[in-house]
């Protein structure tokens, strides 16, 4: 390993090292505040260490990993989102759990897993990253042991994730068995040479798609999502919705690109059907949800569908659109969970739509922030979500995928309904019902974080030019 290798792995090494130190810290002196600040520092350092890598690109550390612009950009997005999640976590756990220090440890590990995923170009690193992510998530999801639904969610995720990993492994084995390669470019080159895809390899791809699809939570592998979102601690749910899915999506894109997936119409069609199904099922099931966590879960299924549309456009602009959409979607989604965090009390999460009745007249600032998040999710102008959706539609139009775009447009309208429903709930006047509202904790750090996220979303929505420039420079995959 040369110095350049180490430097280019900077973000990953930072997070991994921090995980080890955090473990030792907990062993020496169990103190929530200490671990919290340490973790914040670790994320900030990791974010800073993204910058020097830019000079070394593209950098391949054979055979396992590749650090190119695309990987680096997504590493930055992941670490940045992780930072926001940590910022929102302190009060949430301080109020709820007596052993809160290990949460940060697991969060660091899960982030490390996602970081491995975005730079992997080999089945080994893919699987390692994925398992690191999943195993940490088992613990994270079931972290609030005292809660019933938390356990349920943890077990559910454990079993389903294990099964999906098995599918993934079997698929990899089949692909390896018939192509003799485990690195993506090798597989691509093999398929290029032979010209045809042998049936076992097709089966292998299919099995792998099941495994990946499960992690992404796309239809028909989405069943776990609402239960996990509902049962998991709120910051963890935000993590699952953003970082975990983002990392896997990146690896899917890279694999697809390296094996020249666009040439195989079969593969394209499978993904297209999944995309359309994800959009419809996600939005449809979200329509009547009274629980906001579940609604966000279904909406994230739909959003993955939108992302796949950009992906299926098969153009450079599609990659850019995905990158921009992720940049918009990560803070939006985390921010939405952040609102739930801020509004929850130590005994009860504010998760039903009813909890938000008339919020605007009680806590105008939080309601306004939530409105911005929801409108961004719905893709309404002046927010980042609008530009993101516009970018996706643009990519689709560029690739002449009019049918997919029509589906996306229809789904945007369906989606609008349930986002607006929550907004309407917040602006509804509270005259009659003599119900007691959850007394929110409204932690200062949480509020400040929300403020930053809102600024970011509106900023990206009004002046997206700088971010677009960055993305257009960054979105180059190397073979």
């Amino acid at each position: 390993m040369t110095f350049d290798d180490l430097l280019s792995l900077g973000p990953l090494l930072n997070i991994c090292g921090a995980a080890v130190i955090a473990m030792l810290l907990v062993a020496i002196w169990r103190n929530h505040r200490l671990v919290y600040y340490f973790t914040l520092l670790a994320y900030a350092l990791a974010l800073a260490s993204v910058v020097p890598v830019a000079k070394l690109l593209p950098h391949i550390i054979a055979p396992l990993v590749v650090i190119d612009m695309f990987a680096l950009f997504n590493s930055g997005a992941i670490v940045g989102s992780g930072l926001i999640i940590v910022l929102l976590s302190y009060n949430y756990f301080e109020e709820r759990e007596e052993r809160k220090e290990e949460y940060y440890l697991l969060l660091l590990l899960a982030t490390a897993g996602a970081l491995v995923l975005v730079i992997s170009r080999h089945f080994m690193s893919l699987f390692l990253g994925l398992e690191m992510l999943s195993i940490s998530l088992y613990g994270l999801i079931a972290y609030l042991r005292a809660r019933q639904r938390s356990d349920e969610a943890g077990i559910k995720y454990l079993i389903l994730a294990a099964i999906s990993s098995a599918f993934l492994l079997f698929g990899m084995a089949l692909v390896y068995g018939f192509t003799g390669h485990m690195d993506f470019p090798g597989i691509g080159a093999y398929l290029q040479r032979t010209g045809t895809v042998p049936l076992p390899v097709v089966a292998g791809f299919g099995l792998m798609l099941i495994g990946i699809g499960f992690k992404l939570g796309i239809v028909p592998f989405h069943m776990w999502a609402p239960d996990i979102y509902e049962g998991a601690p709120l910051p963890v749910a935000a993590f699952v919705a953003t970082i975990s899915k983002g990392g896997v999506l990146v690896v899917l894109i890279r694999f697809f690109q390296d094996v020249n997936g666009t040439q195989y119409t079969m593969l394209w069609w499978i993904l297209a059907i999944t995309a359309v199904a994800s959009m419809f099922v996600g939005n449809w099931l979200a329509l009547t949800q009274q629980n906001i966590k579940r609604m966000l879960a279904y909406s994230s299924i739909a959003h993955l569908g939108y992302l796949l549309v950009a992906f299926l456009a098969g153009k450079q602009s599609g990659l850019e659109a995905i990158a921009f959409y992720l940049v918009a979607y990560f803070p939006t989604s985390i921010g939405a969970f952040g609102v739930l965090i801020v509004m929850s009390s130590s005994v009860q999460d504010a998760e039903t739509a009813e909890d938000y009745r008339g919020l605007f007249w009680r806590y105008p600032w939080v309601a306004l922030a939530f409105t911005v998040m929801l409108l961004s999710l719905a893709g309404i102008p002046l927010t980042a979500g609008f530009i993101g959706k516009f970018y996706i539609v643009m990519a689709g139009a560029d690739g002449n995928r009019w049918f997919l775009l029509l589906m996306l447009a229809i789904n945007s309208v369906i989606g609008l309904y349930y986002y607006i429903r929550i907004v309407a709930m917040m602006f509804r006047t509270t005259e009659a019902p003599q119900r007691t509202f959850i007394k929110p904790s409204l932690p200062l750090a949480g509020n400040i974080t929300l403020g930053l996220v809102v600024l970011l979303l509106v900023g990206l929505g009004v002046y997206p030019t700088a971010m677009m420039q960055l993305i257009q420079q960054m979105m180059t995959l190397i073979k």
């Binding site: 609008f386 139009a397 447009a409 309208v413 602006f427």
Partner: protein, 502 residues
């Protein structure tokens, strides 16, 4: 730059009035009113000075926004925009006045939304960049949604949803069409741009042009609304607070008409020409069906709402007649309908403040009690049924003259619509002001504030009916460019009319 200021003034007004509302509700109203009057003064000033400026584009301002996509902040003003802006700020200021006593709760947020809708509308009338157009098109929606959903009547939330989802669905189809046009243009010329003037003469295949045209048209006919897409309108108009109804009927519907004139016809002339019979059919269906439904309504506001469907049918009919006379009629119809229907909604609101009902069956015999209000209502009812001497007559007459040249059977049917209009319009007078008095009302007649908002409307509708030349002259410049019809002014219009009707 002045165009940017026109858009920024209500934005600043919106923020300011929200900020001060915590201190004083009255101050917040004055700020809202002041910012709109300031804008009104600016655009009227432009209008008065413009007489010497000649034809074409009065102002043009451009700044880069998202250069990667060829998106610019491109604002420009011609006669059509100018006239629409004058109407916008005129009705905007009146709608602040009309809600002076009606809106008592959350005044700050109300005026914030009101001014923001007006910003969006002004943006729509000014922008010459298709992305920016879509942006403003969407910006109008959210505040309008709040206006209906928070301050509306009983079924406000249902109405607000319906309004939002209908218009958003249309808007997304338009977005797809905009992008389609963008890429077709790029494929042909290699230039990626959303600039209206660059996209104007994009060569494209016939079938493609038809699809793109339909995408644009859907958004506009939903907003207009034309008949199969009109169902959001009665709900939204009825449930909205008075100011919301005025803005909806007076301005928001006009953005649909404006879109057809500004985008559908010039961008896709051939495709629009082919589609014209169908569009005219939709227009006529709207005129007759809307009128019939209006007649059957038991609710004052709902009745007026359906008359909008009927009147907007004329707009569709005239817009697709493809000639100068009809064109001028369409613009006149946009203005006069904005004024007369806005006024009727205001009267409905004024009446509601007094008797707290919109049910026609519970009104009646109000003339002796409210003679002044009765007179004003009479004027606008007459305007609505197309009485000569009032603005609407000029508009509908011009449209019919124009469409006669294009499609005779349709024009005949549309003319029947005038009879329907008479029937439903007179029903308003009959049910509200004449007939038996059920209860003995002791009601105050129009107050000072109400006179201040209704008197200008009366004056304007009479002015437009007697001397429409300034408006026609202003918009003629616009048409020269868009339709490339030979220059004509209102005298030519009259001459053409004389040739047709002996």
């Amino acid at each position: 730059m002045i165009l940017l200021y026109i858009i920024l003034i209500p934005v600043i007004g919106a923020l300011l009035s929200w900020l001060v509302s915590a201190r004083s509700a009255a101050l917040c109203r004055w700020i809202a009113l002041g910012s709109l009057l300031l804008d009104f003064a600016i655009v009227t000033g432009i209008w008065i000075n413009q007489g010497t400026a000649g034809s074409g584009w009065l102002y043009n301002w451009q700044a880069p926004w998202i250069p990667q996509f060829g998106i610019t902040l491109h604002l420009a003003m011609d006669g059509l925009s100018l006239v629409m802006l004058v109407l916008t700020f005129f009705l905007g200021a009146l709608s602040v006045l009309v809600s002076w006593n009606e809106i008592k709760s959350r005044t700050g947020f109300f005026h914030f939304n009101l001014l923001f809708v007006i910003t969006g509308i002004a943006g729509v009338f000014l922008t010459m960049d298709l992305f920016l157009f879509y942006f403003f098109w969407e910006v109008m929606l959210i505040p309008m949604y709040f206006l209906i959903g928070i301050w509306g009547h009983e079924r406000r939330e249902y109405a607000a949803y319906k309004f939002f989802i209908f218009t958003q669905a249309g808007g997304l189809l338009m977005l797809l069409a905009i992008l389609g046009l963008y890429f077709v243009h790029a494929a042909n010329t290699g230039v990626y741009t959303f600039n209206y003037f660059d996209l104007l003469h994009t060569p494209m295949a016939r079938s493609l042009a038809q699809w793109l045209m339909l995408g644009f048209l859907t958004a506009f006919v939903v907003k207009l609304p034309a008949v199969p897409f009109h169902t959001w309108l009665p709900d939204a108009h009825t449930e909205a607070p008075t100011a919301g109804s005025v803005i909806l009927a007076g301005l928001l519907l006009k953005t649909g008409a404006y879109g057809i004139l500004r985008f559908v016809l010039p961008l896709f002339p051939a495709a629009a020409q082919e589609f014209a019979p169908w569009a005219m059919l939709l227009g006529v269906a709207g005129i007759l069906y809307g009128g019939q439904l209006a007649f059957a309504q038991p609710d004052f506001k709902r009745l007026v709402a359906y008359t909008s469907v009927s009147h907007m049918g004329f707009v569709l009919l005239g817009a697709f007649a493809f000639n100068e006379v009809a064109y001028q009629g369409v613009v006149m119809q946009m203005i006069t309908h904005g004024i007369s229907t806005g006024a009727l909604f205001m009267l409905a609101g004024v009446l509601y403040e007094r008797i707290h009902t919109r049910e026609l069956s519970r009104m009646g015999g109000l003339w002796p009690v409210l003679p002044a209000m009765g007179t004003v209502t009479m004027i606008f009812v007459m305007a609505s049924l197309g009485l000569p001497g009032l603005g609407n007559f000029i508009a509908e007459f011009l449209i019919l003259v124009g469409s006669w040249q294009a499609n005779k059977p349709m024009t005949v049917l549309a003319a029947v619509g005038l009879v329907v209009a008479t029937v439903y319009s007179l029903r308003i007078m009959q049910k509200v002001f004449f007939g038996q008095t059920e209860r003995q009302f002791g009601l105050p007649d129009l107050g000072f504030r109400e006179w201040v908002m209704l008197a200008p409307l009366v004056l304007v509708i009479i002015w437009l009916g007697v001397y429409p030349k300034p408006v026609l002259k202003t918009i003629t410049n616009e048409q020269e460019r868009v339709t490339n019809v030979e220059r004509s002014d209102s005298s030519l219009v009259i001459r053409t009319a004389q040739n047709i009707i002996p």
